[in-house]
Every structure is written in C-alpha cells, then in structure tokens.
Amino acid sequence: MPELPELFDILTLFGPVPPHGGEQGTAGLVALLTRHKISGAAALSTRALYHDAARGNRETRTACAEVSAPRLVPLTVLDPGGGGDTTGARFLAAFPATQGWPVRYAPLAAALRSSPAVPLLLEVGRPGDATDATALLRDTGFAGPVVLAGIKGAVGLSEALAVARDQERIHLATDGLRGLGEIETAVAALGARRIVFGSGAPRVSLGAALAIARQATLSDEDRALVLGGNARRLLQGGTE
C-alpha cells in the first residue's frame, strides 16, 4: 500500500468574510485542516484580504505563530495602496480579482519591485489575468517563483497553461480547478512538480478540493508532489 503523502494546502483563510461574518481566529481553520489530515497550510487573515492589508498581515503572522499543528505559513497580502509591509515575508499574495483591480496595475508593479524574491501567489480569476501576469512579472523583474491561483474553467486553464508552458518558475494552484481531467491536463502539460494543491478553504470546500485531487488519474509519486511535496519545496526556498 503506498505511503500516504503529507498534505499541504497552499491557500487557506481565517476570520470573518464580509458581509456574512464568521468566527475570528484560526480555530475553525485548524479544525478543518485537522479533519482532513492536512499537516500544513499557507494561511492569511480575511482582514488582510477584505479590509486592511497592514493590520491583517500582522494578524496573520501572530495567529500563524500561535498554531503548532497543523503548521501554518503566513501569506502576506500585497497592498496596491502602499500600506503593506513585506519585510520578513516568506510568501506573498496578490488578489486583483477579489479586490477589484487589474493585474497590470502600477501600484502592484511598484509593490513587487520592492518585494523580496520569495514565492508569490497571484490570483488570476478573470480571462486575461494570466496573460497580464506574464507582462507584470517581466516589467517588474520580480525574481521569485510564482503560483497562479483562482484558475477557473476551460478558458482559465487554457490561458494559464499557455502562459506557464515556457516559464519554469510559474506553478498552478488547484484551488479553481474543479472539472474532470483538469488536474491531469495540467500535470501532463507542465509536469507534476509545477502543480500545487490549494483549496481556498474555508471560503471554498476543502473536502471538495481534496476529493478532486485524490480522484485525478495520477501516479502515486505525482499525486504526492501535487498534494504537498511541491508546496514544501517552494516554501523551503527551492525553485527547481
């Protein structure tokens, strides 16, 4: 029987979601990760995403430090308004679609130019976002590895694959991939080392995201990379 891979979720959130609210703190997220036997996750406070990046990022760092298991890696949200401090950040994130600004956006470009070359998770939820992401990365000279997230449907996946095919540092997160054959197609096109499991939980179902990845027709070795190995390698500094 193959050894179960150690699972890592590249995108999770904690805190209330406007306008419906929700509980403060990481308890709910930790319970959910524990329920699904996820041993680690990159996490961010919803305050950083929906309201105030500076305060939210501080909240993220503090909350993640207080949790020992599962291991939470703080995701630092880039603030195009200039309020975010990326000093000491291990993992950056930008959410243009959720926050309502374009990917090719001068304030984001400025933030990236002054950011360390750590991994960057970039939401590409709208048609054209992934294409714009390549221009953004080229223009800013940002040197870190990149994880494209929020890829939706056949249109989104086709665009992301076209963008990533010739750029080894670009990875695809699975959080938006919900269709049959999508993960398999991404693995076939880019190789399993560039596909990273993510859920967007608890805003989106962790159980659903896991079920899709587990049902995908992959070798045990490839599945282990997708479900955890790649995220660990990225966050430990490897970009190969």
Partner: protein, 291 residues
C-alpha cells in the same frame, strides 16, 4: 433507472450530469468511460443531459442521449428543451417522455445571452410538459434565475421543480426561495461552499429537498461528494442528499424500472393551471413537510 454494474448497492444518484466531451474530459461521450468514472466515485446512477442539446442543437443532442440510454439502460436522462423551439420540443416530449428513461425536461439559460428561463418565456413549453407528470429541471446559476424558477414553481403548483446549481454563489437567496415553495427542490451543484448545506438544512427544516448533482464534466462529481465531507451530517441526512431524496422524488426503486409516469388527462390540465402550491396536491406522502 437501474444502478450501474457493481455499484448496485450504492445509494448515490447524480440527478444532473452532463453528457458531452470537453477538451479536458474527451471521454465524456463514451458510456463505458462515463459509467466507469461515476462508479469510481461511488455513484450508482445518473441522469444525463446533453451538452450538445443545451448549447447548440437540442434535437440532435437529445437523439444522441436517447440512443445512449437505450443501449445503456443504467443511465437515465433529461430531455433538454428550448422555449424558443416549442414545436421541436413538443415532438420530442411526445416521443420520449412516455418512456421510463427520460426522467423529465430540463431548461437552461439562453446559451447565447445567458438570459435565465422566465415564466413568460417558458410558459407554453412548461404547460405542455405538465401532462407528463414528471419533474422539471431549471438551471439556476444565480439569484435572478432562481427568482424566475420560483415564479414558475408557484405558477405550476403541482409540478416538482429542481433548481439546479442552487443559485451559484447566491445560494442564500436560492434556499430562502425554496423554503417558501413546497414543490421547489434544490440540487447541490454550483458553488462548492459547505456553508450552503448547513444553511439549507436549517432554513428548510431538514435536507429532504436537497439532491446530489454534479454538473459533470465541468465539475468532478467527487467534488460535490467531498463538499459533504466538510460537514457534520448525520449518516441519514448524508444518505438522503446523496440518493434517498432522489429515489423518492423521481419514484426510483433501486434495481427496478421506474414506475410508469402518471399522465394527467388533458381535460385536467386547464384545472391544474389554477392550482397554487400547497402540500396536499404537491407531494406524495413521503414528502410531507417535516415538523
């Protein structure tokens, strides 16, 4: 519907599963492939809806599905109808809906504009359909579509209506609307958000109006099943959502052919038009409201 192969004991019924290949699921027009994929996910039966019929050519699409389910009787299907093509729809209704394998008619937003199905636009075709006594599926990807589906449910009081997609991201409104109409059911495809199941179970006083559906191949059926894994459902409630409610709503009996549809005599159709939804006329005994 007859459960598929080795999955005869499995209770999961996918009440809305697409039929048609995509670039990422090229095998999704091969009955053996689709059956195998569903079985691998523990799904014992599925109601197919032609992607070709839905997006381009309803006549040819329905014909293809009819041929498929004729050769593979473990599948059932929805007859996809377009309000703008009533003559074609009526002809296919008469041809296919008297049999057992088509479980009802399915209506989708306009494939060109995305405009939702409305009572005004679909009145004639829905009225013609009601004599077959079978459920009607209306895709509801957002709250606007759900409001229109609710109006249709209210107008067609004795017709069981399945709102597919549960209003998408606007699932709260979908649930609230379903709470007020006893003949309006929700399939849980759409947004992969576990909160919507909890919310629905509270607002609807139980899960009896929730039906498992995948919308495959655009969504992996495993995802919708996995959605339930985030929740603390009782085994009974989980079984009801995944299959028990469908067995009752569609008069299915595992391993048996579906019961003959109850055809309303034409003379009663006009009277039925006057109906408003109320439990006595809308639901069989097993669907009486929970206290």
């Amino acid at each position: 519907m007859i459960p598929m192969g080795d999955a005869a004991e499995l209770p999961i019924v996918d009440v809305h599963c697409g039929w048609g290949a995509t670039s990422f699921a090229p095998g999704w027009e091969d009955a053996e492939y689709v059956g195998g994929a569903l079985r691998a996910r523990g799904i014992g039966g599925a109601f197919l809806a032609s992607d070709l019929a839905r997006h381009f050519d309803p006549i040819s699409g329905n014909e293809q599905v009819a041929q498929t389910i004729g050769e593979h009787p473990h599948f059932s299907a929805w007859l996809v109808v377009h309000p703008d093509r009533p003559l074609d729809a009526h002809a296919q209704m008469r041809r296919f809906l008297y049999g057992d394998q088509f479980v009802g008619c399915a209506l989708y937003p306009d494939p060109a504009t995305g405009r939702p199905i409305t009572l005004e636009g679909a009145h004639d075709i829905v009225n013609a359909f009601r004599r077959f006594g079978k459920p009607l599926l209306i895709e509801t990807p957002n709250a606007e579509a759900m409001h229109h589906a609710a109006r249709i449910a209210q107008e067609m009081g004795n017709m069981r209506i399945v709102a597919s997609g549960m209003g998408g991201a606007e699932w709260r409104e979908a649930v609230d609307l379903a709470a007020h109409l006893s003949n309006l059911y929700l399939d849980i495809s759409g947004a992969l958000v576990p909160d919507k199941i909890d919310y629905a179970a509270r607002a609807l006083h139980g899960v009896r109006k929730l039906l498992f559906a995948s919308g495959a191949p655009q969504t992996d059926p495993a995802a919708v099943i996995g959605l339930l894994d985030d929740l603390d459902l009782t085994p009974d409630d989980r079984e009801r959502i995944l299959g028990g409610n469908a067995v009752r709503l569609f008069d299915l009996d595992a391993g048996q052919q579906q019961a003959e549809p109850e055809l309303l005599p034409l003379a009663e159709e006009a009277e039925a038009d006057e109906d408003t939804p109320h439990l006595e006329t809308l639901a069989p005994d097993e669907f009486t409201e929970e206290e």
